[in-house]
Amino acid sequence: MAYVLFTLSVLLVMGFVGFSSKPSPIYGGLALIVSGVVGCVIVLNCGGVYMGLVMFLVYLGGMMVVFGYTTAMAIEEYPETWGSGLEVLGGLLVGLMMEVVLVLWVLSLDETVVVSFSDTGDWVIFEGEGSGLIRGDSIGAGALYDYGRWLVVVAGWTLFVGVYIVIEIVRGN
C-alpha cells in the first residue's frame, strides 16, 4: 500500500485533535498515548528503528506514565469525555472536518513531489578487509557521545538540577 505513511499522518492529526479539544485530562492522556503509538509507527516506517524505540521507552513509557498518575491525583468526580457537552464534541468535529477537507484538497491537486521515503535505514560500510551493515539512526545517535560530549554533560547537569528544582517546588516554601 503506497499511501500508508500518509494515512498514518492523517491518523496522527486526528489523535492530536482528540486531546486538543480539551476533554478531561485523563481522556486527553489516552488520546496522547494513541497519537504517540501512531507517531512511533510513522518513525519506524521511515527507517528510524532506534528513534522509534527511544520514543516508545522514554516518551510513552516514562513521561506518559508520570502524566497518568499525576492526573489521577488531580481529577474530578465526573470527568467529561468527548461525548458529554457540546464544547468538546464541537471542537473534535470541527477538527476532524478540517482535516478531511484538507486531505481531499491536497489529494486533488495531483502534483509530483520528489521525496523518496524508501531505503532510509541501512548504510553499507567498507572497513578494512570486509564490509558491514549499520543502521543510520543508531549510529547517528551514538555520535552524541563522540562529537557531542559537552552536550551530554550539559544535558545531564540540566536533568540533575531539574530534579532539585522539582523537589524545591513540591516542598512548597
Binding site: K22, G39, V66, G136, G140, T158, V166, I169
Partner: protein, 98 residues
C-alpha cells in the same frame, strides 16, 4: 513538502492552539505541550531519515531530554497548585488581579 510533512506541521499547530486556550484544567494545557514536543520529535526524525544525514538524529534525542525536564517542572507546579487549591482549575489562579 509532501502531504505527510504538512500533516505533521498541522498536528503541531493544532497542539499549539490547544495549549493556548484554557477550559477548566491546567494539566490539559501541559498535555498539549507534550503533543507539541512529540510532533517536533517526529518531524526531526523524518528529516534525518529522508535527507540521509544521520548526525541530525542527535537533535530529537536532546529535544526529548529537555522536554522531559520541562514536563517534570510543569507537573511539580501542578502538584503544588493542587496541594493549595484542591484541584487544578484555572479560575483558582486569581492572585494576580489584573
Amino acid at each position: 513538502m509532501t502531504p505527510t510533512h504538512m500533516n505533521i506541521m498541522l498536528a503541531f499547530t493544532i497542539s499549539l492552539l490547544g495549549m493556548l486556550t484554557y477550559r477548566s484544567h491546567l494539566v490539559a494545557s501541559l498535555l498539549c505541550l507534550e503533543g507539541m514536543m512529540m510532533s517536533l520529535f517526529i518531524m526531526a526524525t523524518l528529516i534525518a531519515s529522508n535527507t540521509h544525514f544521520p548526525l541530525v538524529n542527535i537533535m530529537p534525542i536532546i529535544l526529548l531530554v529537555f522536554a522531559a525536564c520541562e514536563t517534570a517542572v510543569g507537573l511539580a507546579l501542578l502538584i503544588s497548585i493542587s496541594n493549595t487549591y484542591g484541584l487544578d482549575y484555572v479560575h483558582n489562579l486569581n492572585l494576580l488581579q489584573c
